[in-house]
Symmetry: none
DNA sequence: TATGAATGAGTGTTCATTCAT
DNA sequence: TATGAATGAACACTCATTCAT
């Protein structure tokens, strides 16, 4: 009857995990929402954790792909490249707003899954960021900054509005799901790149010209 | 043996909620860790959610207090004030690293508790931030920025290393529980304030002097 | 690859039923071990109980055949005949050690299957034993014993080492699967026939001659 | 409301395990029969296997006690002692007919539980039997027999009518739960002791006198 | 013959909660 | 205050079985 039970399960899982958290969502909730039998979850994903892993993997494959795409423009200079990566990630997060929130939240739980599955992705992600920052520092385009602390800040800015979408929406009346947000927030991160990451000379040159 | 069962319960709850999440922790786990009877949790906190609310309240009372303390130095100018607030929050997060992570994570769940309890704190928090930013904009000390987007960025930077302490520690080898981190990371946020929030004139004045 | 799926299923079933019991074995376990699709079990045996019945039937057909073969030597005298039957059964059990254990165990469950399928075999088996014992009693070759109580004892001796093969092997270090066991244990049952079943005169005659 | 939920659970479990086997009985069946909540089984016995272990332990403690009581009469001679042990065991089995059947059957499953819990009991049981048989062989009261094979036979005779109570009742019309059975069957085992275990001299002495 | 997808009922287990003591 | 016993609902998961292909 159903064309694709597996996809239906994943879609429902993402929505529910996003709203209620992984541990707060029962596989019966998911099955009901997807209009499939509970046993199908075990059939396709072995068990509930298998479904979680599938979500993680799906997310990070695409996420890393976006970073890699941006990274390829490193020849245009580190600033340009960093902005390209940033643009891709923000766009990806806006397109997958439910999945992103859920993954970002669940990442902070001390689970085996996080350690085993995600660490490889994290290492790759760090590699790309590090390469860009180091290039910028070497060419004096960037200030002589601590790479790791820059990564912390960049990732902070990239994730917070998606993770705390309730707060952002209800308290600040900023709506991450609207197209305006994507443009506007990207500009803000560009400001951070120009104002914090980039060296004064470069920064001023652009700024003073305007 | 225990002087205070109630405190023992709260302490254990914070540790376990932090590690396994609210839904991933059973009240029996908490009672065992606290070496008290399960029924005592109901006795002191009505039920599991009561314990959660207690944690939220405890956290936000102190958190807001830190903001208020910093806010009182607004007469020294908005930049100084913002840095004071930032310093207080970072210090508070470093001192309550388990509780902070757990609250920051659980905040992103769409639960009644979040909506009912936290919204008043959020509104207050926003009020203080807004006042500071608006003061800065009016006195031209800050660039003419969007207050809400600045709050997003500030809160991003203030919370990320505590929420994703696993990532920060294991992948970036940055240790939020060490005293060095507090000083260093505060400096980074000061850079953000100077480079992104503050107006070029002020920023350059300081920068060029050096 | 497999020549005969049906046989593969039966073989795997016997091994697994033997180890984990009927209720402890899933048809998926069986299908996996047999390297066939689960649905094939339904195809060949209707359902799980059909597979069980098939095992029962297979076992008892052969088992009864062994008894009948021995029974045909009744003209050589009841003692000789009883020993012949005993020899055949012990040999059959040794040859089908997994199936025997599983059937003997499952027989003791109060199930419909046992009642419906096995009762006819049991009645036939009892008929042969009874005929032999009655012949022995009539010709005074046997002591005037209670046939039913003799059947209990004979069946006890015939089944125990196979049913409790773990105990016999691990605790007593007697190995039912080795050829020595078959010869030795048969001798023991012959002793029981001579010492308990047979009349003193006959028994002593043999014994005193030696 | 219930005076003793734990005992009610054990009683119901024994009956149901006896009828349907361990794997064929659900803890819900047990709880319903015992008129208690399912969760109490976990409360008292940790889980279903804990309940099984409890049954095993209960059975074997008493069983071994009966053997020990009989063993204490070794000074009256090995034959007398063996008969005493036999009498105690048969009586114990008749008194605990459900538990006995279930234990004897489940013993034949290849489970961890059997190996871990029962092996110590088996070793003790073997020790007593061995002592008695060796005493009998040394004093020439017994024939020079293989102790282990004698244990197999003795245990066969002691357990079969209880394990296969359905067969014994329905096919042979022998009723193990009636008092007559206990006396009659004991006599049969005495015959085995006299006719198979004991030496001809001693055996004849008694037999010829009659 | 043989298979992968799918199902509904049932499994053992865990949960937060209640209550008499 | 503090506890052990007990509960009902929910949990993740497994089961034998069915069916279109």
């Amino acid at each position: 009857m159903r064309k694709n039970s597996k996809d239906a399960i994943v879609d429902s899982a993402i929505v529910l995990f996003n709203i209620k958290g992984f541990n707060g969502t029962s596989i019966r909730d998911i099955a009901n929402k997807a209009n499939v039998n509970v046993a199908n979850i075990a059939y396709y994903f072995q068990n509930k954790h298998g479904l979680l892993e599938y979500c993680y993997t799906t997310f990070f494959e695409s996420y890393l792909h976006e970073i890699e795409r941006g990274f390829n423009s490193l020849n245009k200079g580190p600033t340009e490249c960093l902005k390209e990566i940033t643009k891709n990630i923000i766009h990806f997060h806006c397109q997958n707003i439910h999945l992103t929130r859920f993954i970002l939240r669940e990442m902070s739980i001390d689970s085996q899954v996080v350690r085993e599955i995600m660490s490889t992705y994290f290492v790759k992600e760090r590699y790309y960021f590090k390469r860009v920052f180091e290039e910028g520092i070497q060419t004096k385009e960037y200030r002589p900054l601590s790479v790791n602390y820059m990564i912390i800040q960049l990732k902070s800015l990239l994730s917070m509005p998606f993770l705390n979408s309730y707060y952002v929406t209800e308290v600040l009346h900023v709506f991450p799901h609207e197209p305006y947000f994507e443009r506007k927030y990207l500009e803000e991160i560009y400001n951070w790149i120009d104002g914090v990451v980039c060296n004064m000379h470069f920064q001023n040159r652009d700024a003073l010209l305007v």
